[in-house]
């Protein structure tokens, strides 16, 4: 949940008094034209950005009171371009874990639709869609409460897009709270009925895709 969040970057107000609640165990899509502040809002949710005003709450707790390292394990963020670290798939999944053997990496990998034997693959042998699923699995290993997805399918082909969309739907069904940023209203409609429209740093509408489409600024359609 965001309360009166204002973010300024490089002398420009990127977020202007944004307040919104995110439904638990649901998919929420934040849509809007490029540069409207969607990604910045996601980055405030896991404190990659610190708003100058307002606050972000996670299960009622001010995120500034939660250590960033802990917060980011509870609130995973997946970027637009799949970012795979050097090393194999196993090394990617185990990145930053104190005791990787305590985690069931194979099951996590399978939960995003990748075969368990991929664990031993070099990560540069993955396709774009597989790499993005690995990124999602890497966040899931930490058992997050919330998953933030920033245009997760923007660099993928159509088949990979559909696979990721099904995965998002499936993850929400398993109780994960998901916030996805997309500029594609069609994608938002395929995934969820909870859509929020962001224009010029403000949340200007919310509802289902139809409600938001009506409110989308005409000059930016």
């Amino acid at each position: 949940m965001a309360e009166g969040v204002c973010l300024e970057r490089g002398g420009r107000r990127v977020l202007k008094d944004v307040s919104t609640a995110i439904e638990r165990a649901q998919v929420t899509a934040v849509v809007g034209p490029s540069g409207s502040g969607k990604s910045s809002l996601l980055r405030c949710f896991n404190r990659l950005e610190e708003p100058q005003e307002g606050r972000v709450l996670l299960a009622g707790e001010d995120t500034r009171q939660i250590a960033p390292v802990e917060l980011r394990r509870r609130v995973g963020l997946i970027a637009q371009m799949p970012t795979i670290f050097p090393g194999g798939v196993r090394a990617n999944l185990a990145y930053g874990l104190d005791d990787p053997e305590d985690f069931d990496l194979r099951t996590t990998l399978e939960s995003v639709g990748l075969p368990g034997h991929f664990l031993e693959r070099p990560s540069d042998a993955l396709s774009g869609g597989e790499a993005q699923r690995l990124c999602i699995a890497r966040a899931l290993v930490r058992s997050p409460e919330v998953l933030l997805l920033d245009e997760p399918t923007a660099s993928l082909d159509r088949d990979a897009v559909r696979t990721i969309e099904r995965l998002i739907w499936d993850l929400a069904g398993r109780g994960l709270t998901i916030v996805i940023v997309t500029h594609d209203l069609g994608q938002a409609g395929r995934i969820t009925s909870h859509v929020k429209l962001m224009v010029d740093g403000r949340l200007t509408a919310e509802g289902d895709v139809g409600d938001v489409e009506l409110a989308w600024p005409k000059e930016q359609r």
Partner: protein, 244 residues
């Protein structure tokens, strides 16, 4: 003097090449040549006095340290606190080595040893600081998305940056490693040549050169490592996040 004129002619040829190659470093080239000439002329004038007084030679070393810090700081533009990082890295590399060499009796605490040895070690620390700092600055600024992906997995900034430091430190140490490996085979370094020209025996010259090379390995490794960590940290803001 004839040798200086000949070497200057070679420099002019190099300048012509930079022009033909359109490298756009002509002004920096000329500034470097003029600065070297003026600085060495001044040093030649004052060195006689400085060599007679240990206190003055200490002051001279401080001037060298300040000049090295400013030079490294300028080279690290885009890094917050570049001058401070340059100074601390150079000090971290050169001060322990100088204390060891003079404190443990490697050399007598006399101006004729203090000035050249300090100059070589401070200069080496400056080079390593500049090379490591610039490499790591460039590495971090070009890989912010990857670093933020690491941070987003709930690791500290120090842990996230760990992968980006070794290549920068290694890159900074390549010149001294190559110089040490190839000494005598490809190059005859400055201290060795200087001592031979000054009339010392080749064995004495070799001893001094080995001391310089071994010390430089330690000095540059320390300076590059401290610089790498500090440059990395300069891009981290409160709350374990990247600030550019």
């Amino acid at each position: 003097m004839r040798a200086v004129v000949i070497s200057l002619a070679l420099t002019a040829a190099a300048l012509l090449i930079t022009r033909i190659q359109n490298l756009r470093i002509e002004s920096e080239f000329i500034v470097a040549v003029v600065r070297a000439a003026v600085q060495l002329a001044v040093v030649a004038v004052v060195i006689g006095t400085v060599f007679d007084h240990l206190g003055l030679s200490g002051l001279f070393v401080l001037v060298m340290f300040a000049a090295a810090s400013v030079t490294a700081g300028r080279r690290l533009h885009g890094v917050k606190g570049a001058l401070r990082i340059g100074a601390t890295s150079i000090a971290a590399g050169s001060v322990p080595a100088l204390l060891a060499l003079f404190g443990l009796g490697g050399y007598e605490l006399e101006p004729r040893f203090v000035i050249p040895i300090s100059g070589i070690l401070i200069g080496g620390a400056m080079t390593a600081t500049t090379l490591a700092g610039r490499r790591i600055r460039d590495e971090i600024t070009s890989k912010v998305a990857e670093i933020e992906a690491r941070l987003s997995l709930g690791v500290t900034a120090r842990f996230a940056l760990r992968s980006y430091l070794p290549s920068g430190i290694h890159g900074a140490l390549i010149p001294v490693l190559d110089q040490t490996k190839n000494v005598g085979l490809i190059t005859l370094p400055g201290a060795f040549v200087g001592m031979i020209l000054g009339g010392a025996s080749p064995v004495e010259a070799a001893q001094v050169q080995l001391t310089v090379l071994f010390s430089l390995l330690g000095v540059q490794t320390m300076a590059a490592s401290v610089c790498a960590v500090r440059v990395g940290r300069s891009f981290v803001g409160p709350g374990e996040r990247m600030v550019l």
